[in-house]
Symmetry: C2
Subunit: 360 residues, 2 copies
């Protein structure tokens, strides 16, 4: 079987070079006679992997000493709780912006913990949309402001991050390290690894050090950021293989020119695909407002749901995987994360043109 | 490099056949043109892996319909909190038995949640020991009784599980599926995968279905057992690669004759190693009382700490990895989990004899 064109929303495509290296050394890592999966998380071989992962992520994000990198478990879904449990004390208020499915889930969990304000709600708008983040009624003295940088299902993406007085916290699961941004605008960012960073089962959290100590000591030890912060994410056994793959992906990303380098490639990929949608004389219709179109998750509709089903079916027959829109919204979605090569975009566009010719 | 003799306590040795199969199909899983890491957790290819993992674990543990298999994240360390958060309501009491480092950690977290009784504390005894579980003063009406089936650091193991009135809950991280036992004696068992089941980053929880619904709905969604129970552990993205390896290990274990088959092998391995220790005329001294000697983690001392350090150093030079005792207790520890072959036991015993000849 030749390599598929992978448009999965997550778990998602990984760089082929990364997979090939992992394959080569899966049974015998670096001449140690053991798999990286068999190495102790407290041994030298794994320590080198772990420390390189931290160093590469720090470099790619341009972190200052004010921030700490954590590798956690449980996905963004656990962070939805961990953020307020650590950072929203009784009597305080946190600001949330509801931009879609993922922001809604974060809000649902935060409400279990404390008091929150919804600054804006664009989650039900069609075409899918986001608010003007510079014009939101931020709460003076809020514990933090929570945003979702990219809505994987809606296909929308914040193009310019606001400067907020309260610590800005972003779920960046679906566009982490796809473009440069100024980390000093943020109190914390987090991301499940399974879109742009590696396999599922690792959650990257980058948090400003002064925020780490805000959690009550009564919180379960594993839910306090300070627990893993004190131990370089080695308080208990971390998901070593996932962090190893993440390290290889971070190396690959550095070789691509880091966040700025990959952003140029991502911009070229997304522009080409959106141009194909917009140039189809209405056969394909983008579902997000142009100002907030995501460069990671490109969403569109066809004239009928039957045609959408046929499109997905024929795409699979043409070795293009993962184009069915999320079950909650339907339509078509191409997730074109960092590792998705231009060849896959070109193949998709050629298929789209052919499909339209036959069905338009 | 030839394959190492791996005595790591966790992450630990995996069956070579499992690693070789994972290597073979790492880039192209089952002819799909994609890595298993790139497959959607909601797609057919991964679903087959996930469902086989559940089915194999159910078969290996002899589960009835009263129990559910969950694949979670966060390790046993998160279960230390999740168990009481779900199962210890206000006003109730849970019984705990403190048999060592891991039981102590479970107790520390449970105390944050509610009221507990310590039925016995052997955690400080030297030689390392466990109480008579049939003679403990169990609390009438307790919410549950928590035990640690095998203390990885102390090298002790419960040989016969008690029959308790309250649901019995066991941390089985370091001896899960190393021997048969009657699951119907238990309300729940849990285990980090990285010793007997697979790589780190997956936590196996098996829980009686009537207990799943006890958690307050106010608990963070990700911490309620019902959340993943309702969704076959697919509420959010699971650690797919770890579950895939666990599935391959479960296949390997079935081929070995299941829990009974592997138990016979484990008994033979451990007996041989303990006999070597006991037959050394006191040069090697086992650190656990014989009645509770673990078949998984074999712990012993040498006449001096200098000799212990030399032993570990020379062992490494002879391709034997992971023999240094846990930093909290010192000495020597050989973790001889399911996947550790008899050849490694034989190599270790030969090395021990040679070392004694030169240093005894």
């Amino acid at each position: 079987m030749s390599r598929a064109h992978i448009f999965n929303a997550g778990p998602a495509i990984l760089p082929l070079e990364v997979l090939e290296q992992a394959q080569k050394e899966l049974v015998d890592f670096a001449g140690t006679g053991m798999s990286i999966m068999e190495h102790s998380h407290r041994g030298k071989a794994y320590a080198a992997v772990h420390d390189e992962a931290v160093a590469n992520i720090s470099k790619l994000l341009g972190l200052t000493d004010d921030y700490q990198v954590l590798f956690l478990q449980g996905g963004a879904s656990l962070q939805f709780s961990q953020i307020p449990l650590n950072l929203l004390p009784a009597g305080a208020v946190a600001d949330y912006v509801n931009t879609g499915t993922w922001a809604s889930k974060a809000i649902k969990e935060a409400k279990k913990v404390g008091q929150i304000n919804i600054l804006a709600d664009t989650s039900k708008e069609i075409p899918t949309n986001m608010p003007d983040f510079d014009a939101l009624p931020y709460t003076p003295g809020a514990a933090y402001v929570h945003i979702t940088s990219n809505e994987t299902i809606a296909g929308t993406q914040i193009k310019k991050f606001p400067k907020t007085e309260a610590p800005l916290i972003a779920d960046m699961s679906s566009d982490i390290l796809s473009r440069p941004f100024d980390i000093t605008q943020f109190g914390a960012i987090y991301a499940g690894a399974q879109k742009n960073l590696g396999p599922s089962g690792v959650t990257l959290v980058v948090i400003r050090k002064d925020l780490i100590e805000r959690a009550p000591e009564t919180l379960p030890t594993m839910l306090q950021y300070r627990t893993q912060a004190k131990e370089n994410s080695l308080y208990n056994t971390p998901p070593t293989f996932g962090i190893y793959i993440l390290m290889l992906v971070s190396r690959w990303l550095l070789a691509k020119g880091g966040a700025a380098g990959i952003a140029a490639i991502n911009e070229a990929k997304a522009s080409k695909l959106y141009a194909a949608i917009d140039g189809s004389n209405g056969f394909y219709r983008g579902t997000a407002v142009p100002a907030f179109r995501s460069n990671m998750n490109v969403t569109w509709r066809l004239p009928t749901e039957d045609l959408e089903a046929l499109f997905v079916k024929e795409a699979i027959a043409n070795n293009m995987i993962g184009l069915k829109g999320h079950r909650s919204v339907g339509g078509i979605r191409a997730s074109i994360y960092n590792a998705c090569p231009m060849e896959s975009i070109d193949a998709l566009i050629a298929f789209m043109a052919d499909f339209q010719k036959r069905n338009g």
